[in-house]
């Protein structure tokens, strides 16, 4: 089954940590991504730019509304994602728990909607 790990972290807190530590934190993500790849379970992954760079669009009464900022203001923000292919939820959860984001934020584990199911 395919799952998306949505990595929610406090981006302000992350930006505030000293450069040396931030580098270490980034290194942890690189190592994690690499271990997913080596295990042959990684489909794709990406880091997202901060929510300050985000723009939200919706159409209401036929008129498009464009708003500066993310869809919802929350304490933790979606900062990146992984898509993995593993046998079941237990396997997905054990990978999600190893994601560095699980230690300084939260990982939402969502099954990917496969066509025909």
């Amino acid at each position: 089954m395919q799952y998306m790990f949505l990595v929610y972290t406090n981006e302000k807190a992350f930006q505030a940590i000293p450069p040396a530590q931030r580098e270490q934190a980034m290194g942890a993500y690189v190592a994690y991504t690499e271990s997913l790849r080596k295990a042959g379970v990684l489909k794709s992954s990406d880091r997202l730019r901060p929510t300050a760079d985000s723009t939200t669009v919706r159409i209401e009464n036929g008129k498009s509304q464009v708003l500066d900022g993310p869809y919802a203001d929350t304490k933790e923000q979606l900062g990146g994602f992984y898509i993995v292919d593993v046998p079941d939820l237990d396997a997905a959860l054990s990978w999600a728990a190893r994601c560095p984001g699980a230690s300084h934020g939260s990982i939402e584990v969502r099954p990917i909607w496969t066509m025909g199911s």
Binding site: M1, Y3, P87, D88, L89, D90, A92, L93, P111, M115, G116, S117
Partner: protein, 416 residues
């Protein structure tokens, strides 16, 4: 008995004995518990038509399984689009592959019930629906019956069960017994907690006037036994079974003929079921030989101390206190702290116990808990603080849903 009745009673007997085994087997790979239940219901319906007409099959369980699998595969074929056919057909083939021999008398259906229970109590399943889910999938209880046992609305219960089964399938929760030792211990806790929740719900009907609840306690005992059989190396499973047996052994002593509540200390020991108590004691010994104490073993040991204390006419207060201390360290539960205070009263007197209750007073979880106020009232009465005792009994009476217990508390209040 005519053929129709005979077919029905055979089908009922197989349903009772094998329902969970058949559901677990049918859903083991697909994780589609709802589809397995539907197919099995169809198979039972087919049996009631087929068996009276053609005679009972040699192996009714295998007949039902074969029929249910055919229904399951039919349903899958109907659902699938051409595009999605390949993996679905693989799954259908898997379902057919390990076909047990319908004609063999000793056919054994692999028992995946424990795996099903672990799926039902997965941390990804909401804790409040775990016990109902086990009752439905392993025992075949319908939503209305489960709802009445758990005092929930049938429609809401049905919806929560449907949602939980969909989650097992869509989120990919495996039907599997955890292999790693630590994980097994952690997850087993949830299985045992669900069984105990079912038992506690059943236990709340002391006079046995509500068949749904009475049956719930019995079925919880059945599940407790099943877990000890399937996991013979788990002392906590023994502990839970022992705990439930001690309680069940006193079932008939909890009320007078007239339906009045009888506290443990006043129960007629003659009314206790000695066979159940002996079984519980033996289980505790077996558990202790595995040298891994835990919550249920400690609670069962407390029951043992109470039961033997009553039988010998002398309860060892300091032994009780030591057990409560150990349990409190393990659970940190305010309810345990409350019971510990009562044991403390036996050893060091009511005044010391009241002091320890005062330390609990700030815990909001106890504010609406009847036994807290009843215990407080009892201890206050013992220290001759009559006005305060009266007020505490008033709180306890106001919080108690069971009329018999209410009457008991009112008599205590009147006796002040």
């Amino acid at each position: 008995m005519n053929d129709d009745e005979h077919a029905r009673s055979t089908a009922d007997a197989v349903a009772r004995r094998s329902y969970g085994k058949l559901v677990a087997f049918l859903a083991a790979r697909s994780r589609d518990v709802a589809a397995a239940e539907d197919a099995l219901a169809d198979a039972f319906a087919a049996a009631l038509v087929d068996w009276p007409a053609r005679g009972l099959p040699r192996n009714p369980e295998a007949w039902l399984l074969t029929t249910a699998r055919r229904k399951l595969i039919d349903a899958q074929r109907r659902r699938q689009t051409v595009k999605a056919a390949a993996p679905e057909l693989d799954r259908a083939a898997e379902l057919l592959a390990p076909a047990p021999d319908e004609e063999a008398d000793d056919m054994k259906i692999p028992d995946h019930r424990l795996a099903l229970m672990f799926a039902c109590t997965h941390p990804a399943i909401d804790a409040s629906v775990r016990a109902p889910l086990i009752l439905q999938t392993v025992l075949g209880f319908d939503a209305a019956m489960i709802a009445s046992a758990f005092l929930a609305s049938p429609a809401a219960m049905a919806q929560r069960l449907v949602r939980a089964k969909a989650k097992i399938k869509q989120a990919g929760i495996p039907l599997r017994v955890p292999e790693r030792r630590e994980e097994l211990a952690e997850r087993l806790d949830a299985v045992l907690a669900a069984i105990y929740a079912a038992f506690a719900e059943g236990w709340q009907d002391p006079v046995g006037t509500e068949p749904a609840r009475r049956e719930l306690a019995e079925e919880a005992l059945y599940l407790g036994r099943l877990v000890t059989e399937l996991l013979p190396g788990e002392p906590e499973a023994f502990g839970l079974l022992a705990l439930m047996l001690y309680a069940d052994a006193r079932r008939h002593a909890r009320r007078t003929q007239g339906g009045d509540y009888v506290p443990l200390a006043d129960q007629d020991v003659e009314l206790w079921d000695d066979a159940l108590i002996d079984e519980a004691e033996a289980l505790l010994v077996r558990a202790s030989e595995l040298h891994a104490p835990g919550r249920y073993q400690l609670e069962a040991a407390l029951q043992s101390a109470h039961v033997n204390g009553r039988r010998l006419g002398r309860v060892d207060g300091s032994a009780l206190l030591a057990l409560y201390d150990a349990l409190l360290e393990l659970s940190g539960s305010p309810v345990v702290a409350l019971n510990r205070a009562l044991a403390l009263a036996r050893v060091h007197g009511a005044a010391a116990a009241l002091l320890s209750l005062d330390a609990l007073a700030a815990d909001t979880r106890l504010a609406d808990y009847q036994p807290y106020w009843a215990a407080r009232a009892e201890l206050l009465a013992q220290t001759n603080a009559r006005a305060e005792a009266r007020a505490a009994y008033g709180r306890a009476i106001g919080l108690e849903p069971d009329a018999a217990v209410r009457r008991f508390l009112q008599r205590r209040l009147a006796a002040l």
